[in-house]
């Protein structure tokens, strides 16, 4: 509404999540793209490093954050379904290959071998969904394995000492585990998309649609930068994440940073919501289409 326009925004609070390999964020920050875009209007851009999805949505609900630059689709759905006023404005990345089930035991080669084994990983996440999808694809059910709930670092550590047979892993953790002798049982390819989205606070979007649009523009600029300066991008990413350039190059192709929301993405999110409901992790449901805002 035009009346709200009078309310001057002084500061935009944005999350800054660099891992697992959030190249566009890294570029936006290192190239001062947002600062120079909004600096024109004397608007400060504050970056907040909040990695965990639930914490991002909590801070958003509390009004401390305006834009969540890289939020797992699962977290977005959970929060929205439980009443948080948030909207998805674009896709940050899809990385089916970055999410994987890994194992150190030689006799677990493919998901079918997981029958009767212990698998560890974070509950209610893309990774969990991946596991379920992989089981279903191999005519197994949740009852056929023993699932142990833990975060990724713990799962990898537990796999290393043999407490569990397979771990759900993503990002640098999986890369290092692979370097340390683990092998991939399956990735998300063909099973889950592993979408990471860009979400904004509903109220912020309603009051300042222009700012959101300008943010979206900067996001596109960063994608262009990545396309045009690959070597520079690798270097900056390596610097920021502490990974080696080789590792970055190895991981980079796992990610698809196309920001457009395609119908397939919406389908995928619906599947995710179904998965959450089916597994008793979500009781309410939300219409996914209502979550999506298309910026013109």
């Amino acid at each position: 509404a035009p009346a709200d326009k009078a309310e001057k925004v002084e500061k935009i609070n944005i999350t800054y999540v660099k891992s697992p390999l959030n190249v566009p964020s890294i570029i936006q920050k290192s190239q001062n793209m947002l600062a120079s875009e909004f600096g024109k209007d004397n608007i400060e851009v504050a970056f907040h490093e909040i990695t965990a999805g639930p914490k991002q949505t909590q801070a958003l609900a509390a009004g401390s954050l305006d834009i969540l630059n890289a939020l797992g689709a699962t977290s977005a759905i959970l929060a929205a379904a439980n009443g948080v006023d948030l909207k998805i404005i674009s896709i940050f990345s899809r990385a089916p290959e970055a999410f994987m089930i890994i194992s150190k035991t030689p006799d677990i080669d493919e998901p079918a071998d997981l029958k009767g084994k212990k698998v560890g990983g974070p509950t209610g996440t893309v990774l969990h969904q991946l596991l379920m999808a992989a089981l279903t694809a191999n005519s197994l059910t949740a009852q056929d394995i023993e699932f142990v709930s833990m975060d990724i670092p713990s799962a990898v550590a537990a796999m290393q000492n043999g407490s569990i047979d397979a771990a759900l892993a993503a990002g640098p953790a999986s890369l290092r585990a692979l370097n340390a002798g683990a092998h991939i049982v399956t990735t998300g390819e063909g099973l889950v998309e592993g979408a990471i989205v860009v979400a904004v606070r509903g109220e912020f979007l309603r009051k300042h649609p222009d700012l959101v649009k300008r943010f979206n523009k900067v996001h596109q600029e960063s994608l262009a930068f990545i396309k045009n300066n690959p070597e520079e991008t690798y270097r900056l990413t390596a610097e920021e994440t502490g990974l080696s350039v080789e590792d970055v190059k190895k991981m980079f192709p796992w990610y698809d940073f196309n920001h457009e929301i395609k119908p397939s993405d919406i389908e995928e999110m619906k599947k995710t919501q179904e998965f959450l409901i089916k597994n008793g992790m979500l009781t309410n449901s939300i219409k996914i289409e209502d979550l999506i805002v298309t910026l013109k």
Binding site: V148, S149, S154
Partner: protein, 257 residues
Amino acid sequence: MNHRLIEGLCLPFFIVAFWFIGSGLELWNEFIIPSPQKTWQSAQFLLSEGILTSHVLVSLYRVFAGFLLAFFLAFPLGILTGMKPKVLGYLEPILELIRHIPPLATVPMLILWFGIGETPKLVIIILTTFFPIFLNTLNGVVHCDKKLLEVGQSFGFNSRDKFMKIILPASLPNILIGMRIGLGYSWRALMGAELIAASAGIGFMINEATHLSRPDIIIVGILTIGIIGTVSDHLFFRILHRFVPWKDEKEVQNGGG
């Protein structure tokens, strides 16, 4: 007693009233602090399904096992180092180091050494509980009245007698306060402990509710820990007092009748 209860319930009453009113007037975000009604519904659901009870039982076991293990490590070590400063000299730097390290940081190592069963969870609780008991016991022993110790010495008491008949009763207030702080921290350590591959427990319930964005369950969990913790503290130290054969000077003065 009744009077004290009423006094004590004043502040909680106001807080709950404020919660009701604030939620009614929508003073804050429903997603972070759900209304009392909604919280109560969730609590009832969790209770009626027996979910809450089973979580509580699992956590109770962990807390008490962890606390007792911590006690049986910290208490004798506090006594030993208090009575033999030489031993303290050897152990102090390493204990000081451990004392400052966040137990959560050691989770990967704990998993490596202890797997993902109950052991690493208990170790987290022990690491959190150990130091208040240890340091307060040590302090009590070190500051034990020298004049009373000399009485024991003059009667040719051996270390054991000195300990049992003088040091222990004299430093009991300190030891008890260390145990109370320790027991409190045992409850607090649950969240961290039950991050490690738990499938039940109040800490697990809260962790999961956080992941699944269920603030109502988080609040139920917080209140459950708070209440069960308070009650267990009360019971534990009541019972302990029964077993303690000596009366506190204060009690005697406040009416020995």
